[in-house]
């Protein structure tokens, strides 16, 4: 046999018509622009995030998960929006916390909503089937596939997401996925600045699955609140108003707290800071 693929021939022109040369010379330049000689720029995908949301934090405790994200939408250093909900509820008991580009957040919101509708068709009116259907591990797997496929098309959804909820067995499920399709699980998770500022504080209390058993619900909530405070102190693109979801394994319930405020801040030290910008009076 001749092993050179160029000598194998191709479907005959008489049967299939002549080969469309454009296929071999395909390019990612917008064909309209090429026709009109407007631009030699390649087609544009999200090259960098524009409107963004900052960190999402989450921690496992003995009976579930606490997850939080603030309500700000930044346009560069401008606080453009102060009432953005970045914790999405998917299905009965899954919370997806999303940081990064907000238009891509809305794209994900639409995709997950479609998934939820598809799933609810299968369940019909059966409440139990609905509750048993779409679990956090399914949502995470689905989201990971979407993120990885979009990065493979060089057209990423510019986000880092944390999925919190319950899996098929009703156990707490907490996992991360980002714009590259990189996914991992850990009892403490944070995106963005939180990975630098909050993770050390969270790991002080919970460094392994064994420590999860020792952390009570009240302590977990307090810990997340403290971390949100530290983030508000030190992350310039953060807000003192945030949403927090508390999931408990024993009753498979999700408490959703909106408009939580950062409390007990101490700004007295600010008076003493010298050397930045205008002289202090």
């Amino acid at each position: 046999m001749n092993h050179n693929p160029f000598h194998w021939g191709r479907p005959s022109d008489s049967t299939y018509g002549p080969y469309n040369q454009q296929i071999a010379h395909a390019s990612n330049v917008n064909p309209m622009a090429r026709q009109q000689q407007q631009s030699d720029f390649p087609t544009m995908h999200t090259q960098r995030p524009m409107m963004t949301g900052t960190s999402v934090l989450a921690i496992k405790y003995q009976d579930g998960i606490v997850i939080a994200a603030d309500n700000m939408g930044s346009y560069g250093s401008l606080m453009k929006l102060d009432n953005v909900e970045r914790l999405l509820k998917v299905g009965q008991d899954t919370i997806v916390g999303i940081s990064g580009d907000l238009s891509d957040l809305q794209a994900i919101q639409r995709i997950l909503n479609d998934l939820e509708i598809d799933e609810s068709y299968d369940a019909g009116d059966d409440e139990d089937a609905l509750a048993a259907g779409l679990k956090a591990n399914h949502v995470h797997e689905y989201l990971t596939r979407i993120m990885y496929n979009r990065r493979s098309k060089m057209d990423p959804l510019w986000n880092a997401c944390i999925v919190a909820g319950f899996d098929d067995e009703g156990k707490s499920f907490l996992k991360y996925v980002d714009l590259l399709g990189v996914a991992f699980a850990s009892p403490t998770l944070a995106t963005g600045f939180g990975a630098h500022l909050a993770i050390p504080l969270l790991r002080q209390r919970v460094d392994s699955e064994a420590d999860v058993k020792k952390l009570t619900k009240a302590d977990a909530i307090q810990l997340i609140k403290d971390c949100m405070k530290v983030l508000f102190y030190r992350d310039a693109r953060s807000l003192d108003k945030y949403s927090m979801a508390v999931l408990s394994e024993s009753d498979q319930k999700v408490e959703f707290h909106k408009d939580v405020k950062v409390e007990d801040m101490k700004w007295a030290f600010a008076k003493g800071i010298k050397g930045y910008g205008m002289p202090q009076l």
């Binding site: 030699d40 995908h45 850990s186």
Partner: protein, 246 residues
């Protein structure tokens, strides 16, 4: 006449640097998630081990994210490097294996699995999976076998192989301790090379643990935990040993 072209990168005024092409700020579809893996074949077993740390830059994403998988048919598979691609490769292998079972209703030989992985990797030759892949299993004679792959699918059967972040730290140690490189027969007074022999499972496990504790000392992306999967004719067993978490 000489055509003098001014080099814009040297001693120029910024105003003279005319951009002839659009400045591209391209999205980088790859990252390195650290970690390291190690496979050693014995006479009637093979081990594939990996640390459980998952990193991005200087961040530790997770202290326990397993990357060595028992993929079925008495085979162990691990892809190390960019975790997104690694997960995709293992998943794709799992899918292909399932289809193989549907189509042929028999076990996939380790050598055939290796060839399949070559095709999965080479199929993305021009947008490669950024991973170092190791497959462990038993061959047709029941002997342990390790196959190692480069990111685009070039592969080889070996007695042992380290992959990933600390491969360059572990591999020379393995050359010496598994393949007895630079070791002489003590009886011969330095005239004869030490005879090759199969290592026992106990010896191999000790080597693997030593390799990983040492790599943990010297490589920041290695640590937290060591998961060793052992494959014998009776199936797969898993062992876990803690590593330093600093």
């Amino acid at each position: 006449m000489m055509n003098v072209q001014q080099n814009a990168t040297m001693a120029s005024e910024y105003s003279n640097e005319v951009q002839t092409q659009p400045i591209e700020h391209r999205f980088n579809p790859y990252t390195d998630n650290g970690g390291t893996i190690l496979g050693i074949a014995g006479e009637d077993f093979a081990v594939l081990a990996g640390d459980t740390r998952h990193t991005s830059g200087y961040n530790i994403n997770s202290r326990y994210e397993p990357k060595v998988f028992s993929v079925g048919d008495n085979m162990l598979l691990s892809a190390n490097g960019f975790a997104g691609d690694a997960q995709q490769l293992v998943k794709e292998f799992g899918r292909e294996l399932k289809w193989y079972h549907f189509d042929h209703n028999r076990k996939l030989a380790t050598s055939s699995a290796a060839r399949l992985i070559q095709h999965l990797l080479y199929g993305k030759r021009f947008f490669p999976y950024y991973v170092h892949t190791i497959l462990a299993g038993l061959d047709a004679d029941g002997k342990g076998s390790i196959y190692s792959f480069d990111p685009v699918g070039s592969y080889e059967r070996e007695q042992c192989r380290a992959g990933g972040a600390a491969a360059s730290l572990i591999m020379p140690f393995l050359d010496n301790q598994v393949n007895f490189k630079n070791q002489m027969d003590p009886e011969s007074n330095g005239t004869k090379k030490k005879e090759l022999r199969y290592l026992s499972l106990e010896e191999v496990l000790q080597l693997v643990r030593d390799a990983f504790t040492s790599a943990t000392e010297r490589h920041i992306e290695v640590g937290d935990g060591l998961e060793i999967l052992i494959v014998t004719k009776d199936g797969v067993t898993t062992k876990y040993y803690p590593l330093k978490r600093d």
